[in-house]
Symmetry: C2
Subunit: 415 residues, 2 copies
Amino acid sequence: MPEISQRAELMPASPIRKLVPLAEAARARGTKIYQLNIGQPDLPTPQVGLDALKNIDRKILEYSPSDGYRSLREKLAEYYAQYQINLTPEDIIVTAGGSEAVLFAFMSCLNPGDEIIVPEPAYANYMAFAISAGAIIRPVVSTIEQGFALPDVAEFEKLINERTRGILICNPNNPTGYLYTRREMNSIRDLVLKYDLFLFSDEVYREFIYTGSPYISACHLEGIEQHVVLIDSVSKRYSECGIRIGALISKNRKVRDAVMKFCQARLSPPLLGQIVAEASIDAPRSYGAEVYEEYIERRKCLIDGLNRIPGVYSPIPMGAFYTVARLPVDDCDAFCAWCLSDFEYEGETVMLAPASGFYTDPGLGRNEVRIAYILCKEDLKRALVVLAKALEAYNRRTDNKQPVSQSSKAGKPDE
Amino acid sequence: MPEISQRAELMPASPIRKLVPLAEAARARGTKIYQLNIGQPDLPTPQVGLDALKNIDRKILEYSPSDGYRSLREKLAEYYAQYQINLTPEDIIVTAGGSEAVLFAFMSCLNPGDEIIVPEPAYANYMAFAISAGAIIRPVVSTIEQGFALPDVAEFEKLINERTRGILICNPNNPTGYLYTRREMNSIRDLVLKYDLFLFSDEVYREFIYTGSPYISACHLEGIEQHVVLIDSVSKRYSECGIRIGALISKNRKVRDAVMKFCQARLSPPLLGQIVAEASIDAPRSYGAEVYEEYIERRKCLIDGLNRIPGVYSPIPMGAFYTVARLPVDDCDAFCAWCLSDFEYEGETVMLAPASGFYTDPGLGRNEVRIAYILCKEDLKRALVVLAKALEAYNRRTDNKQPVSQSSKAGKPDE
């Protein structure tokens, strides 16, 4: 029987989705699960987006242009202008979600064996797309003690060699919620220029910034316009993850021409999603404001609650709708699985994403989890109660077997 | 400035879409274009599919499972049973069009440098997906003189070496309309078994078979169940190319597990497309019958008309809705471009796909074009008139410059 490819062997299982079979079994037993593992908001899609579907007056659901409808690209250009990102429709290529934008960016810019530097913890699927392109992710590790700030430039330079072709950032960051400062973005710009690198910048969470700090897009950085490949998606900002509409944006004509070859090969991005996305951009201001207020409150609820559980620590995320929290357990992979397979409190349990999957080094993030605050406050509060009970029960159980060796590291940092 | 990848340099421009800028310019001059270059049917999407959109009663357009909704996979399994293809929903993975199914099949099964054998002319994007996976397409060439029948087994065996990992077929065939016989399919099965190969089989045109000959699916071949990866799409059968819903099907658990890693990385296939596809499977029998009758008539109209133009020859396609025809010109790339840039007859012209893009060897197919019969008969008839006038005018023009050197080859074959 023919064997599968080495690339498929290398591909990581999704840390966000790999516990799904255990969750299904728990649900089959009647256990209610608070799903904090996945970035699927529970907030409604804008009504104008839903209405656009009802109003489709087509007899044929035909191919769209490979780079997406021009009307959508024009709307997107107007949208970016609000953020002082100046684009023409030609700079924008519509993709099947931000996912396809990352894949096509890597396919177009990276040769097998090429390296990109990525601050970690990082969105796990970057690794999958890098493997798809035969490229190698070299991590610079940010730490919970430093609130996941960008590691020092010296850490990047240690890794730079003749195979280094780019830097990838996610800003505001998934999974940490960190927002890069002007100073940090400038230091990235300097690196990109000094070593002639691509800057892949995933900025799908720009709507969700909760501090007074400014949002500095890679597209705001002067002098590296030809180096920047912006990754975007409407999934999170309009709570329409299922329509699979994202964008790859670049001022670099050669990059766009290369990406277009991959786009033409897959013919076109989803037609129906483009119709919904285009309409959603016209959602009233009140839609965005309500969503924003809701996340502000959820963030406070979650972070306060987490830090009140003995031995748990979470920094305060500045953006997106995730946090990486440290738990007083040795191995969050085992703990997260156990929550689904062996635990319930009054018929309920929690589903978390073990943070180990967000690091390249299998030894890192063992006592961390990513938590998405995509449930209503009432559910979040209840989930926190269940999580506290789970930690108690888990450690009572492990105390009988072996001590939690990392317990000293698991306390709150001094800062 | 950083350079794009070698893979992107290698990627071919789509032979179907590369003339688009010339067509846009012609349209801007007010020329009407009969578009025979692309497989976008003009027939309506089933009403039940369109109605399903209107009836969506969701507040959130959320992610779907990475392998697609189970309800869709169950419906698909019922659909395949009508063709004596026995599948469970677990054998079926929903993809973003047949395109993504091909890409993920290659990514999962082929290592860089691995080779697959493909009868040519072949759908041009197979090459693009092979390049994406770093794999190499080794062509066995079928000829218009033989009606594009499968080349002899000896031709395959000449190419088989230690890097050969699979055979890819498209049946009924795009671009030739050829339908593989039982004998041909058995010879492919024997090769697959003898050399332990994958068989990638793209069967998206199974609805469109116009002869009494049976449709032999790769899934009907006994003894190679673990070798077969079936590629499918609802695009053509329900005239809904824009919804981007296809499927990758395999009885090989290892292959499916590998493919699922790529599926999880891109999160999910399009939600809205799945809803339309699932409803479309319930289209009344009359829908399929009407579409079928229409293509039967168009086929007759096109092929008769082509063979009546002096120097033009087209075999009679047995399936799909394309034919590869030979034209009395030296270089169809130049001719097809010229039709858009320099020709019009009573304000009209034709857009054809030069067949050279369907062959790996740049010397092959120079005097062939692919023509899709996806326009109504009236338009097809008119397009044939315009094509005849274009050939006349083009050859008058080239006669003044240089003789058509291939003119003896461009006549009708003896058969």
